[in-house]
């Protein structure tokens, strides 16, 4: 579509300046936001999820004039519905989510490929190979083939910006949503980006087109055929796309690669010829065959699934790939090097790295003062079988809390708790533990199920008034929008009651006894019960720092009861009592939540005298 260029701003170059040509150091996510802004995006939606979260947050920062409507949606399906509706209304739309979010949005995604849109619709899936912060490492490139939509794979921040701009054009030219797939190393790595200028993409306006947007069977059948025809047209176009290129070097070895692995290949094997793919579905078959014909040996280096490899093999090409490179985990320069070594392309390296010696492991832990701690102490004491969910509180499954028995997908806790209760095999009261954002995302239908079918489960809603694990994003129960504007607030106890839950308790999780009692009463009540904890996250959106505590060493009998909380502010001191280590509190990080003082039988934990809150 026609796009006129706005004049460049002479403002200083910062990550948030609207238009500039000075190189910027941007993460892939920031670059995608920039690309979308430059392409004239009008509506941007998403649900927070590592490693995708910063895309929408950056877009807000890039758009102080509020020309773009940006929202945190309740979940990824709603986000994609909103974006599709916006595109149907003629406004360029972006929808960003993590890889598993696309599972939630898949219902809309699969059929949006049929409908297409009016204005460009670009969907970003940020995959997490290596499972840095996810529950699986599915390869969402397969979703592009599954749905029949174009797939772009940027390799760095510059390409993240460039491909996003290109994606909007592609989406409009082929009347189909475009999937951009990043990985953690593209989304979160920073690189130098030369930005472009802001385009003006006018809202095209809504036009009735029921044959295109009303997917009754009689309309869906021809739209499926139309999708296949669009795919056919894309298959021709992709051959000449500048997003794919052959880099001829030594022709003994030709490497086909996409995304971040392109840079690993260039790093460890700079002499090899490379077919660098940026537009990977539909695959440029002619270009691939031309490349294969020009090299002695054809090797694919790609993260996770043999997505390119299998398609190249289907073209009849003799190609190697997963025989040498792992199909699981994140590729790194090392694993790529080792793969080339195993394949006999590179001589075995003789690196002899320095040794760490003995170091302390430092697994992720709940923060000092985290309001999630006490409820899990109580659940462990009650001998509950706990179906957990996705959030910081998933760490309750680890030492020393050890109070969570399952974590599968967003909102799964409640449904799984229902199943555990109905299995008749649970060894204690069945409790679902779910955060506020996750509850609104996918917990509501399951709670309605529990109430409707009268299943005896207790649902613990850990309401810390934010989406904590992804860095503290707003949601419908926080009272603010992504832009910080005031918003309506979901009344969680009222919602639970409205869904048919008679027993709803709200409790302060800093009061261990009250929390214990509320959970004890809840599990004893017939039918479904809900306990809601109501302390905010200590880190976001505001830092909570109350009067810190310290340990009166003479009182400490080194019983270790406080160490069972797993608080990072509590550690062993240099003192001993009866051959056991006494403890101390790091006053600098203690938030004054008082929970350790509540479990200490010796009243050794007391507020630091003479402390006054800083302004």
């Amino acid at each position: 579509m026609a796009a006129s260029k706005a004049s460049a701003s002479p403002e200083p170059a910062t990550a948030t300046s609207p238009a500039t040509s000075r190189p910027l150091l941007l993460s892939g996510n920031e670059a995608i936001a920039r690309g979308a802004r430059e392409a004239g995006v009008r509506v941007a939606t998403g649900y927070p999820g590592t490693p995708s979260t910063e895309i929408l947050e950056t877009l807000v920062r890039l758009d102080p004039g509020r020309q773009v409507y940006v929202e945190w949606a309740t979940n990824e399906k709603v986000a994609l519905d909103v974006a599709l509706g916006a595109a149907m209304g003629g406004a360029r739309a972006l929808c960003a989510m993590k890889h598993v979010g696309l599972n939630v949005a898949a219902d809309t995604f699969m059929t949006a490929a049929y409908t297409g849109a009016r204005a460009g619709l670009v969907i970003v899936t940020a995959d997490d190979p290596g499972i840095h912060s996810s529950q699986n490492e599915q390869d969402n490139r397969l979703f592009a083939r599954f749905a029949g939509v174009p797939l772009l794979e940027p390799a760095d921040s510059q390409e993240a910006r460039d491909f996003t701009v290109e994606a909007f054009d592609l989406a409009e030219r082929f009347d189909v949503p475009v999937l951009i797939r990043t990985t953690t190393r593209v989304s979160h790595a920073r690189g130098v980006v030369t930005p472009g200028h802001l385009q003006v993409a006018p809202v095209l306006g809504f036009e009735r087109a029921p044959g295109k947007f009303v997917m009754l069977p009689s309309n869906a059948r021809p739209r499926h055929r139309a999708l296949l025809e669009r795919l056919e047209a894309m298959t021709r176009e992709v051959e000449a796309s500048p997003l794919n290129r052959i880099e001829w070097r030594d022709r003994a070895l030709g490497v086909v690669t996409s995304g971040i692995t392109y840079h690993y290949v260039r790093e460890v094997y700079p002499e090899a010829s490379v077919l660098k793919l940026g537009w990977t579905h539909p695959l440029p078959q002619g270009l691939s065959c031309e490349f294969a014909a020009g090299v002695g040996r054809l090797v694919v280096v790609e993260e996770l699934e043999p997505f390119l490899e299998e398609q190249l093999r289907a073209l009849g090409l003799a190609v190697e790939g997963k025989a040498w490179f792992p199909r699981d985990g994140e590729l790194t320069p090392e694993t790529v090097r080792h793969g080339f070594e195993r394949a006999g392309c590179l001589p075995a390296s003789e690196s002899r790295p320095l040794s760490s010696g003995q170091t302390a492991t430092r697994p992720p832990v709940l923060c000092p003062g985290c309001p999630h701690v006490a409820p899990f102490v109580a659940l462990r004491q009650l001998g509950a079988v706990v179906a957990g969910d996705i959030g910081c509180y998933t760490l309750a499954a680890t030492e020393p809390l050890l109070a969570m028995d399952s974590t599968v997908a967003m909102g799964s806790s409640i449904g799984m708790a229902i199943g555990l209760a109905r299995s008749g095999g649970a060894t204690g009261p069945v409790v679902a533990a779910i955060g506020d954002s996750t509850f609104l995302h996918a917990g509501l239908p399951a709670l309605a199920d529990a109430a409707y079918n009268g299943t005896r489960v207790t649902v613990l809603i850990l309401d810390n008034a934010t989406t904590a694990m992804t860095g503290g994003q707003a949601h419908p129960a926080t009272g603010t929008t992504i832009r910080g504007d005031a918003a309506s607030v979901v009344d969680l106890p009222a919602v639970c009651r409205a869904l048919g839950v008679a027993s709803v308790r709200v409790v302060d999780p800093y009061d261990l006894a009250a929390t214990h009692l509320a959970l004890e009463q809840a599990v004893a009540s017939p039918g479904v019960s809900v306990v809601i904890t109501n302390r905010p996250c200590v880190e976001a959106p505001a830092k909570v720092r109350d009067h810190p505590f310290h340990v009166i060493a003479e009182r400490c009998t080194a019983c270790q009861a406080c160490m069972n909380l797993g608080c990072p502010s509590i550690t062993w001191s240099e003192g001993w009592h009866e051959e056991r280590r006494k403890v101390l509190i790091d006053v600098g990080t203690c938030t004054g939540c008082t929970v350790c003082a509540q479990v200490c039988p010796m009243e050794a934990m007391v507020p630091v005298p003479g402390w006054s809150p800083k302004r």
Binding site: L25, S133, D156, R185, H188, A189, R190, G191, V192, I260, H263, Y264, R266, E267, T332, P333, E334, R337, S351, R352, P353, L354, S355, S356, G357, Q358, T359, A360, T361, R362, P363, P364, V365, L366, C367, P368, C392, L395, E399, P400, M469, E539, T557, C559, Q560, A561, M563, N564, G566, P568, T571, W572, E574, W576, E578, E579, R580, R581, T589, P601
Partner: protein, 288 residues
Amino acid sequence: MMQDGGSLLLIGVGGQGVVLASAIVADTALRAGWDVKQSEVHGMSQRGGVVSSHLRFGRRVHSPLIEAGQADAVVAMEWNEGLRALPYLRRGGPLVINLQRTVPPGACRDRIGGASGYPALALDALVTEVGDVRACDAMEIAARLGSRKAQNSVLLGVLAPLLPFPNAAWLGSLDDHVPRPTVAANEKAFEAGRALEFPAETLAQAALAAARMNGHGGNGRGRPARLEITAAWCKGRACEICVRVCPERCLGINGIDKVRVTRAEACTGCRLCELLCPDFAIVVHEEA
């Protein structure tokens, strides 16, 4: 050194400012006209987990990640994390390491043995292994200058002479990234780090810190204590106080509704059950 580019690893604990520090270095490199890539790794937790940042600069940088043994320098905000990052350091490369220690709760699990899983401040051994160790107590230096929060600027000051970036690029980047009211404090801390004399001045400082920090004398019991339970006096589930308070979760209720020891091997002899039993039904024996 690193006249044609280089690879730096910055590492620390969540909340220590690794991300900000590496953003400052990356921006400095950019201002000095280099191509830069930077990638940080942090786990699920906001605070308390390991955070590391790979930073590479050169004429044209491909990978944002550094291979093992290929980091030209490592900057560690914390002692244990500095040791953890050693496999990344090129042999002969400098290790900039803060003597600050953050002992994770996970290093305090050997309740019967009392052995800490946290490595001792053994600087001599580290110098033998690494060679070029630039250790300092950045917190102490920053505190002396008036702001403990500026400690990472001390470490950047130690790093600065190792990199081919002009001072103006450093200060410009520093000033743009730290909170406005702290610019002067951070500049002072940066200059203090830059002026540190290695190794003489800091080795002395490290010896002092080691003497202070490694003073974990004493020994753990090394064997569990033994509980003597007078079943006739125990009220079982009607009370259950000992079961609930036991920090090692050693106790349970048996089939005839009396308390019993379920994990004898884990009893540290803390005496909470003995002290809190309202019926004097439990006695702790220190001997086996």
